[in-house]
Amino acid sequence: MRKGSMPGYKNIKTALLLAILLLTGSILRAQQALPQQRFDAANSLYQQSKFTEAAAAYQQLIDEGYAIKALYFNAGNAYYKAGKTGEAVFNYEKALQLAPRDEAAKHNLALANQKVNGFVDELPLVFFQQWWRQLQQLHKPNGWAVGCILFFWLVIAGVMLNTFLPGWKNKFLRWGNYALGALFALYLVMAIDTYAVANNHQSGIITHSNIKVKTAPDDNSKDAFEVQEGMKVHIADATKDYCKISLADGKTGWISCAWIKRL
């Protein structure tokens, strides 16, 4: 009897353990409320002027991987109010990446940049760059991709009609096919370009103030100039520890990559 009862006892134990695990898991899941609720809670913290706590709450959502313009925007606001200019600029830039034409984010970013010491505005784009940028914003990145697929289908269909159905063979269809082909090429290029722009991570925001920029990727090299928290820099090159940055005004130098938060 005793011998027989032992394994049963063990079974009960493991079952209990499992149950406890499951319970705690479910409790944890319950605590991890829906993102919308947590977002609302963070918003109300913000409304109560508890900006640091609100920022932390937003940041948690961001860290979990949610990528929503409103989340980045609100986080930017909370960081701005809490006096963390660098984080504020970073989050506004992120929001603008998701919604390039968002006026509110642009406005708040401009405000945050006013707090950045030695802020240098980026050079205005040449007209064709502006056109390109505007064209890019005509569709969302996925819109370009969908359009690309659509035009490809149309081109194929047109070509097939043109070649196999003698009744459809005319020059209008042929020219239509050329036009569709051009549109397909444009949409494909745009889809690739928007993807590349959004994923190159070649720019970043400085997260600390008074960082000495070195002339070479070496601790002992000379100081060239200083960068301040919140400055947007272009990362031109990088070694293991050092990143070569260039500023909007053309200055370049090396700083430790730890000071840059890549966009």
Binding site: D40, F51, G65, H107, I149, Y195
Partner: protein, 650 residues
Amino acid sequence: MKDRFSIRKYIFSVLCCLGLVVCASAQDLRFTTSVSSNAVTLDEPFQIQFMLENGTNITSFTPPSFKDFEVLQGPSQMQGQSIFNGRRSEYFALNYVLQPKHVGSFTIPGAQARVNGNVIKSNPVLIEVRKGNAQAQQPQQQPQQAIPQHRAQSGGGISEELSDGILKKGEDISEKLKKNIFLKVEVDKTNLYEGDQLTATYKLYTRLPTNSSVTKVPAFKGFSAKDIELPNPPQATEERVNGVPYKVFTIRKTLLFPLQSGTLELDPVEVDNQVRLVKLVGNGKRNRNGRDPFEDFFNDPAFKDPFFDDFFNRPEVEYQDVPYKIQSNPIKINVKPLPVEGRPLSYNGAVGNFKMTAVVDKTTLSTDDALTLKVTISGHGNVNLLNAPKVEVPSGFEKYDPKMTDDIEKNSNPLSGSRQFEYVLMPQEAGKHTIPAVEFSYFDPAANAYKTLRSEAFVIDITQGKRVKEDKHDFGVGKNDLVKIDGGIQQWTKSRSWFIISPWFYALLILPLLIAGAVIFYKRRKDYNTTNAALLKHRYANKVALKRLELAARYLKEGKDKAFYEETSRAVWGYLSHKLKIPFADLSKQLIQDKLAARHINGTNTSDLFELIDNCEVALYAPAHNNDKMQGTYSKAVTIISNLEDALKN
């Protein structure tokens, strides 16, 4: 930087009136040595006077030894008192007339006296003895001797200027001006730290009646300057240089703070003078000649009245205004940079000795209120150059630039006072916040070290204000306010999905290609098949036809004439259909004729063919058993097919 001088123009005039200059501080004890001339020629007698003013209870009076001089006369003692402007002064003086024995510079030490039990000493005097000039000696001797005599009469003993305004015969004007008017710059130190204070005083020394105006004021490059206000009109003081009294006017007194290290130069000051010189005409000389130097000794002080002198001794004079421009010497100041070692992080340029207080006006407030942090730095040093100490405001406060209020003591030397920095802090965030201690560092040049002052940290309790700044969040109203946060329900998608990198994108791109490929393939195959079948049919048409004809030949033998004709007709039609690639259903005589015509097959072949076809049709619909005819039809069919085969081969 704060050079407030450049515009301000100094003009002061000096008018010395004859005979009525009185010691400003009549009640002060003064013991002075004065000589009639500092520079004498050998064998030229001069007078030296030791004068003790307001000395009560004089118990001893010891003149110095004149070892390099010969005492021609004296000591002659004078004692007296004068009342001027209601002030009484007493004096006691010893006069000697001396003659130098050697050429060179000699210092006559001061006389010693015991007054009220204290030993006091008069100032030493430097005498320069030059080689005698035979011509100049005689005329000079007389007036020189006359001077102390006159001074003694005036009572105060300070009025040499008067007689120095007299241009004696043979005297060089420029030499005289040079000797009697000059500028001097006094600095209290020439070697100091950057930011330390330096006092520069520009003084005009004169023994002549002059009307002077400052034409060039120094700019003090590299310094921050703060002027000390001088009385207006300028007040003259008296100073002795080498025992010779001068009237001294302070042109400018400035506190200077070097702003950079290195060797800096104090610019010179330039003064234009209009010197009024009196020329003696012959009359005066006669009078003077008549006077006996020894007369002094016996003269009763009551007799010696300035008016008396004026009236009787100088009846005939002539005035001459001489312009004379003078410049002070530039002075080099060596400024050391502040030491680097031990320099605190919070140091921002203060040099001197300071105290700091920091106060906040309240410790509990709501986000609607504002907090004021007052930092007051007082002491002496470069108060006017103090920079605001850096206040590390925690996040949750909005900081504005500090308001600066100065309270600098007027004419203080060293510069002292206080500077107050008022920081207005707007709390943005509710909760308990700590403002870290305010730190202020300065360099103490006396101790030659940096010192750091630190206030206490402030704990501020901030409650949520009632006013939710809705108006401020309005985008249209405040261009400098944040656009308020986004609320509302969001679509909670984790990271952005990129359609372009998803397999679907590529699948959808490839799919139409596949479809197109499939269609093309199918079509190709169909085409191939059709063309291929026709070819085969064409190739085997003869065989098929012959096979059919064999079958017909069997029917012929069996005497089934209907089947025979059917089979023959089918063989011919089928052959034509295959050979001419005409679908079976489309076959017609006309079409066949056209096709054959297109292939240039005409004449007997075609007519035989159609005859055969007609025969078959007739035989099918009007059966008449005729074995010979059937035989003939058969052989005709075979001939036609083989003929056509030959013709169509090409």
